[in-house]
């Protein structure tokens, strides 16, 4: 049999096999998807931090972070907030619908450099999506790392994503602490109330032999970085991700550059020391 010709910008067909609401407002959903072609499925290998170009045919393509750890296999999970046209069309899709998938693209979190270190994960809102993949990957290789601290916040209790992980799965893991906060509580909420950066300062995760991974809205990242600096974290201990508009995802379309770096192929994962080398244009 002749292998069909592969083209860089032509996605493989995938099927949505499950859809889960993450938030009470319904603005974040997790899509479980499966590539239709078993050969392509077997060839797919992603690492935490990598992304996929997701197509809704007739609407367009968008770069989405992969939220399921490669250690969990298929189906792949993509958590998507309803923001624009493609994410809106995805939200309108149903189980059984066909989408397109290309990738995985981009670099990955450098977990190979973190052996023996304590890990401090800090995320806000949908920013937990790429971090969740990383957390599960690290927990699947639990013995390679020290203490794990997950600090996460959302606008309200109903906006917390991945509740089964936050409340049931992760707190039961060995030497793992989960600290949650919300901007505004409700009648049932007994936990802390306040923004993530202030909560980080209050929790004071030690920078000694630690790496911190931060994802969330730009404004949260900005103040978390200030908090981490106060706590004594060096720039090379701080890892985050960047995002920009993308069209090809493979460094050709000339869109997502910051200086001479393309977020799609040179990122999305950068240390703060690397980010400080880039021109301020994101």
């Amino acid at each position: 049999m002749v292998e069909p010709e592969r083209r860089l910008l032509v996605p493989d067909v995938a099927t949505i096999v499950d859809i889960r609401d993450e938030t009470d407002a319904g603005d974040v959903k997790t899509f479980r998807v499966e590539l239709d072609d078993p050969v392509r499925r077997a060839a797919w290998k992603h690492l935490p931090g990598q992304c996929a170009m997701v197509s809704v045919f007739g609407v367009g393509e968008a770069m989405i972070s992969i939220t399921s750890s490669p250690t969990r296999g298929w189906p792949l999970e993509l958590s998507v907030k309803r923001v624009g046209r493609v994410t809106g069309a995805l939200h309108d899709a149903q189980v059984g619908d066909k989408i397109g998938l290309r990738g995985p693209y981009g670099n990955h979190f450098p977990t190979e450099d973190w052996t023996g270190k304590d890990l401090v994960f800090i995320a806000g809102g949908i920013g937990l999506a790429p971090v969740r993949c990383l957390i599960d990957y690290c927990l699947a290789h639990r013995d390679r790392f020290g203490h794990v601290h997950i600090i996460y916040g959302a606008r309200s209790p109903g906006d917390l994503c991945f509740k089964p992980d936050l409340f049931e799965r992760w707190p039961k893991e060995k030497d793992t602490r989960v600290s949650l906060t919300v901007d505004k509580g409700d009648e049932a909420w007994r936990g802390p109330v306040g923004f993530v950066p202030a909560y980080v300062e209050e929790l004071k995760p030690s920078p000694e032999n630690a790496v911190t991974i931060t994802c969330g809205p730009p404004i949260m990242i900005k103040f978390v970085l200030q908090a981490l600096a106060k706590l004594g974290y060096r720039d090379d201990q701080i890892v985050t991700t960047l995002e920009l508009k993308m069209q090809c995802g493979v460094g050709k379309c000339g869109r997502c550059n910051i200086g001479d770096k393309y977020v799609c192929v040179d990122g999305p994962v950068f240390t703060l020391s690397q980010i400080k080398q880039l021109p301020n244009e994101f």
């Binding site: 860089l8 066909k98 869109r255 192929v265 244009e281």
Partner: protein
């Protein structure tokens, strides 16, 4: 890069036989060449009968030949949604069909060199664009040396010349040399690549003839004469060398000053033979349609606008800086040379005179 002609793959073509040669090249292949369209010389696929009116005299076509490799719009795939016998959703995605082999005829040396700069983007790195590669491998580039560079030409500022062969499979040199008053009566056709040699070998002997014995010296002198030509704007500009200087100028107020007159029309990016930024969009209805890519422009305000409303380059200053930093610094960091071949189209076409030589001059003066 080949630097000297291979004697056994040089031929002679009379001006009066060019039409016959082009007719012989057509058929299986698409032949694209400069032709007059509505009073302007454009790079177009020849229609039957146009072989005899190819314009090799006008210094540059309004549009560059880049569209032959990266069309202004080109389909990437077609998709068709349906329902299977069990009622389940189905989706067929098919790559766009491959294009016909092509000959780009009468390409200026600057435009031929530009194709190699596009190659670096689409054919190197971790990802190769197979659609571009297929078209590139099926394309033969026949350049023609420039006898009289225009006032706004500056290819020499990038190490090229009116007779350089970079990016060309064959270069045509007017037999009477660059210093002449009328169209040459014949051209030397010098092959610089195997693809070029194959094209010459497959051309009819009636149109493409042997170079008369004893003419080797004249051939070498002619090529050298074209390569030694200076370009008017290139003379004034000198070798472009500003990449290191630009490293520290991202925040400099010069971008505000340069961008002030920019209309954001994007003409510079469309006529430029090296601007390659593209967008991707779907067009269809009823579950069927086509996904295509199209030339986009970093000068357009929406270029980087994201779904949530954030725009990292909301100001003209940032967009102007992006275009020139890409050409003179970012691309240089990534690929080791400048993303410009000095064709001069931006100098001619920009309605407010915001062109690359101006920017180079400003940067040098800082």
């Amino acid at each position: 890069m080949a630097t000297s002609p291979v004697p056994n793959s040089t031929r002679l073509v009379s001006r009066s036989d060019l039409g016959a040669w082009l007719r012989a090249l057509a058929g299986e292949r698409a032949v694209l060449a400069p032709v007059a369209v509505g009073g302007k010389t454009m790079f177009r696929e020849l229609e039957a009968g146009q072989e005899d009116v190819v314009d090799l005299e006008t210094v540059r076509t309004v549009d560059s030949p880049k569209g032959a490799l990266l069309p202004q719009t080109e389909p990437l795939l077609t998709y068709a949604a349906g329902k299977g016998e069990d009622g389940a959703a189905t989706l067929k995605v098919a790559p766009a069909p491959s294009s016909r082999p092509a000959v780009l005829f009468g390409v200026r040396p600057c435009d031929a060199a530009a194709l190699e700069l596009l190659d670096k983007v689409f054919l190197t790195g971790d990802f190769v664009d197979e659609q571009y590669r297929a078209r590139r491998e099926a394309t033969t580039v026949v350049a023609v040396a420039c006898p009289a560079p225009a006032r706004t030409c500056f290819c020499t500022s990038f190490g090229l010349s009116p007779g350089s062969e970079r990016g060309a499979d064959i270069v045509l040199y007017g037999r009477s040399g660059p210093e002449r008053k009328s169209e040459p009566e014949a051209y030397y056709a010098v092959a610089y690549t195997e693809r070029g040699e194959a094209l010459l070998a497959g051309s009819p002997a009636s149109a493409v003839t042997e170079v008369p014995a004893g003419e080797d010296g004249r051939l070498e002198e002619t090529i050298l004469a074209f390569r030694s030509l200076s370009t008017p704007l290139g003379e004034r500009l000198g070798r472009v060398d500003v990449a290191p200087r630009l490293d520290g100028l991202f925040e400099h107020p010069v971008w505000e000053k340069l961008a002030a007159p920019c209309l954001g029309c994007g003409t510079c990016t469309f006529v430029c033979p090296t601007c390659y930024c593209f967008g991707v969009a779907d067009c269809g209805a009823g579950g069927k349609g086509v996904r295509f890519r199209y030339w986009d422009s970093c000068k357009f305000p929406q270029f980087l606008l994201m779904a949530a409303g954030h725009n990292p380059r909301p100001a003209k200053r940032a967009r102007t800086r992006q275009r020139f930093m890409h050409k003179l610094n970012y691309y240089h960091h990534r690929y080791g040379e400048y993303l410009c071949v000095g064709c001069g189209r931006c100098v001619d076409a920009c309605p407010v005179g915001l062109h690359l030589p101006l920017v180079v001059g400003e940067v040098r003066g800082l």
